[in-house]
């Protein structure tokens, strides 16, 4: 069980745990308070992907609560944060209303920033990047552009190729990407947000 094997090393309680640095930075960035979590596990119990996660959601919160540098690194390098789909079932049931989806968004952004994205999650992040590349280009998603972009990023060249004929026949695949008029505005929008960081 991945979750247990990784915690053999002892956590040495040092000053940082007294300062609650991790909790503070998360609270500042997202408004979510990990100190509220009392580890009941209801989030994990209701998470449809918990079985597939290296660290399920309640475990991630616990690792953040320990304020330990090693644990924080493990969280940012985990596959779990990229599997999470923000279905919001966890916060819907959490008795302390800990905003786990918001924390996941934050951890994902931090993971990219620190260059710690798990290799297992490469395809997931590639998908998001391809999606946004397409939107940046024309203001709207072109499934064709996105798919090509995705295949170039991941080299899953033959994936879903079987679907193309039926998609075409059903009129669901557009060859000519739709574009909005204000593409300039979109480029500025992207520049001021994601590309500036």
């Amino acid at each position: 069980m991945g979750a247990i094997k990784s915690h053999i090393n002892t956590i040495i309680l040092n000053e940082s745990i007294m300062k609650h640095a991790t909790a503070e930075s998360i609270r500042e960035a997202t408004g979510a308070d990990i100190d509220k979590c009392y580890q009941c596990g209801k989030c994990t119990a209701g998470c449809v992907l918990a079985d597939n996660m290296d660290y399920p959601s309640s475990m991630i919160i616990r690792m953040l609560q320990t304020d330990d540098k090693e644990n924080y690194k493990k969280v940012l390098s985990s596959e779990a944060i990229w599997l999470c789909q923000n279905c919001e079932n966890c916060i819907g049931r959490c008795p302390k209303e800990v905003d786990i989806p918001k924390i996941m968004d934050y951890l994902r952004a931090e993971s990219i920033k620190e260059g710690l994205v798990s290799p297992k999650a490469k395809s997931v992040l590639s998908f998001y990047r391809s999606f946004l590349d397409s939107v940046k280009m024309s203001g709207r998603l072109s499934e064709l552009v996105m798919t090509i972009d995705f295949k170039l990023r991941t080299f899953h060249l033959w994936q879903d190729v079987k679907l193309v004929p039926s998609m075409l026949a059903k009129g669901k695949l557009k060859f000519i990407p739709e574009s909005i008029k204000d593409t300039k505005g979109i480029k500025i929008l992207f520049k001021k947000t994601i590309t500036s960081k």
Partner: protein, 691 residues
């Protein structure tokens, strides 16, 4: 003009009662307490004492470490005698703590206790400011204000009020039963009222009690019978408190006796009517909806009184005008329809509130099915299943198909410790009764498999921890640490999605035959209205508030009204019984005094010499706004002819609570509060403003 008139009155009054008003004649003593370090850590007490000694009218000033202690009080008493003091200001903690202490000390030294005032240097100064000169200056200013007030204080005498030697206990559960018996056995009269048709409360619904696994009804019913037979207890069931007026020692309670449609004096309790009633599919409240009852019913066989009542909402006669079968069959002609509710009024000396609590129903939980799954039940429903007198005669069976469940899941903390659901508190008893339920299940279903999903196990009472370990170690109940995200039904089974946090947050899924939710303890329906009717405080969850959580756990902030049992907070039976006995002794101590001493800090309408008699013009605006109905009409008559010369307001010193509303309302400024007169207050405020 009116101010002139008021002052004229005071001049006249001061000629009638020898009284010192000028500064030169005052001999005030100022005593500044360090309160250990509570005050002295922030305030320079020595400087305050020195400054006080220089104030006009102050004869003696000193400071001391613990003024409330024995030597401290002796210091005050000695100073009063040696320096012939006629007023005392103590700079100390809040008057709510030690005003009574210091006033008693002054009284023992021969000085009227109402010539002693407390300057709050702790809650108003040292506890809210940093240590600096300004803080000490503030302390000095406050002392100065009170010195000026005390100069105008008049000696007052306490008011004596008679005490009605009868107690009212509201609620007939184990708390009410215990309190009633304890008070009655001290020789005092008790009226016990219970909303339902029988006393007994939730304890009568339980199968066995932890940690001894005593049969609940076996230990309860003898007490219930004792209540019925005790000559000092008057029991009214199907009764509710309609109104409560008056004050400590002198309450007047109006009680509504709901029409039972059965004449208790004729009914023998044979029960024939209940077997003949055609309306027999009404969900039984006593069985928490798992069984049925008839419209004319006794809730359970050991009910006290063991006489049925008719539930008007479900009775065919009351709803449609037909039937009347019970009347036809009753051998003693005890059925009487269409009687109105009766109202009785009783004079009461003290009230004990023992209205108990309730537990949430399964409908409250969206993630466990909104109450639509028949085999998801709450703890109280499980008690009914486990009870030998319950709907399944003590066998654990599924409500849906009557089968015996082979796999049962208990979910602890349902609703409790859950701010998202509006219940942040712990309900205290669920960990224990869940262990009990699991043990009972294992005892009854030997090949059964039980799992408890828990967060923490709270077993703090005597023998409680051992009891829970017994469940785990001897009865092999499966304890899994983690909560359950959801429960849904599939093909007659209940799918439980939980987690084992001790295994590194591993999801756990169980296909159960029955799920028991340990739901949160909540205040009873109608608790808020009852609290408002009695003018007692309650918290945001509608549990009644005790006067002080540690030092006054069975009193309320309303004098003469006491609390016991779960209406104050969720409790187990031992604590409930202990608190009931505690409340009982408070009641007995109150009722065993010949009279009650009340503080004289009440409002008074001024009187002066004829032909004015009083500046009051008799407009009675004060009467309309007095919250305690304490204002009466007084006719001033000519002594010879008996002719009514003037009608003015008179404040009943027995009812007045000294709130001061009439003082501010009175247009002619004819009312003043003893101990807080306008003159005293103006002097204090002026001194504070003039520094």
């Amino acid at each position: 003009m009116w101010l002139q008139r008021n002052w004229d009155c005071n001049v006249i009054l001061s000629k009638l009662i020898p009284y010192k008003v000028s500064n030169i004649m005052s001999r005030i003593g100022v005593f500044i307490c360090h309160c250990g370090e509570n005050i002295s850590a922030t305030v320079d007490c020595e400087r305050v004492a020195k400054a006080s000694s220089e104030m006009e009218g102050v004869e003696f000033a000193t400071d001391y470490k613990y003024m409330c202690s024995d030597p401290g009080q002796t210091l005050i008493k000695t100073a009063i005698k040696e320096h012939h003091l006629d007023g005392v200001v103590v700079g100390s903690c809040s008057p709510r703590m030690h005003e009574a202490t210091f006033r008693r000390a002054c009284s023992e030294a021969g000085m009227n206790p109402y010539l002693c005032e407390i300057a709050n240097l702790r809650e108003h100064v040292s506890w809210v400011h940093e240590k600096c000169e300004a803080t000490t200056n503030k302390a000095i200013e406050i002392v100065h204000g009170l010195v000026e007030k005390v100069k105008r204080n008049r000696p007052l005498d306490a008011i004596e009020v008679p005490v009605t030697k009868k107690a009212l206990v509201i609620g007939g559960g184990i708390a009410g039963i215990q309190a009633s018996l304890d008070i009655a056995n001290c020789g005092q009269q008790v009226i016990l009222i219970e909303k339902g048709p029988s006393i007994g409360g939730h304890m009568s619904q339980l199968s066995e009690t932890f940690p001894t696994l005593d049969c609940s009804q076996c230990i309860l019913t003898p007490r219930m019978v004792e209540v019925a037979q005790n000559p000092n207890i008057t029991l009214y069931t199907y009764a509710e408190l309609e109104k409560l007026e008056g004050f400590i020692g002198n309450f007047k309670a109006t009680i509504r006796l709901q029409a039972k449609s059965v004449d208790d004096s004729k009914c023998t309790g044979c029960g024939l009517c209940t077997t003949k009633c055609p309306q027999n599919n009404i969900p039984s409240e006593f069985n928490e909806g798992l069984g049925t009852r008839t419209a004319i019913f006794t809730p359970f066989p050991q009910a006290v009184p063991n006489k049925p009542v008719i539930d008007k909402e479900h009775c065919k006669y009351y709803q449609k005008g037909k039937c009347k079968v019970c009347q036809k069959f009753c051998p003693t002609g005890a059925i009487e329809y269409d009687k109105p509710d009766e109202f009785i009024t009783e004079d009461i000396g003290a009230v004990v509130v023992t209205t108990g609590f309730n537990v949430l129903k399964t409908e409250f939980f969206p993630e466990y099915g909104y109450g639509k799954y028949k085999d998801v039940i709450n703890g109280l429903q499980f008690e009914r299943l486990a009870s030998a007198s319950g709907p399944t005669l003590g066998e654990i069976r599924r409500p849906s198909d009557g089968q015996i469940p082979k796999k049962i899941v208990f979910i602890a903390c349902c609703g409790s410790r859950d701010p998202a659901k509006g219940i942040p508190y712990c309900s205290k008893i669920c960990c224990m009764y869940t262990a009990k339920h699991a043990m009972l299940y294992q005892h009854k279903v030997h090949d059964g498999d039980s799992t408890v999903f828990y967060m923490d196990v709270r077993a703090g009472g005597k023998n409680y921890e051992e009891f829970v370990r017994r469940a785990v170690e001897e009865d092999h109940v499966n304890y899994v640490r983690g909560r359950v995200a959801r429960v849904y039904e599939k093909s007659g089974k209940l799918i439980v999605k939980g987690v084992d946090t001790l295994m590194g947050a591993k999801p756990v899924e169980i296909e159960a035959d029955m799920v028991v939710l340990a739901t949160a303890g909540v205040a009873n329906k109608g608790a808020e209205e009852l609290a408002q009717r009695m003018h007692i405080s309650y918290d945001p969850y509608h549990f009644f508030t005790e006067a002080h959580p540690k030092l006054k756990p069975v009193e309320t902030n309303t004098a003469g009204i006491f609390l016991a049992g779960a209406c104050q907070a969720p409790k187990d039976i031992p604590e409930t019984v202990a608190s009931a006995s505690g409340a009982a002794v408070k009641v007995v101590s109150l009722l065993s005094r010949p009279t009650l001493i009340r503080e004289p800090l009440v409002a008074v309408v001024n009187r002066c010499a004829p032909p004015l008699f009083s500046t009051c013009v008799g407009c009675f605006m004060c009467q309309t706004i007095c919250p305690y109905q304490a204002i009466e009409r007084e006719e001033i008559k000519d002594r010879k002819t008996g002719k009514v010369l003037k009608v003015i307001a008179r404040i009943n010193p027995g009812l007045c609570q000294g709130c001061g509303t009439c003082v501010s309302f009175c247009r002619s400024k004819s009312i003043d509060i003893q101990g807080y007169t306008n003159e005293e207050m103006y002097a204090e405020v002026t001194a504070l403003l003039n520094k």
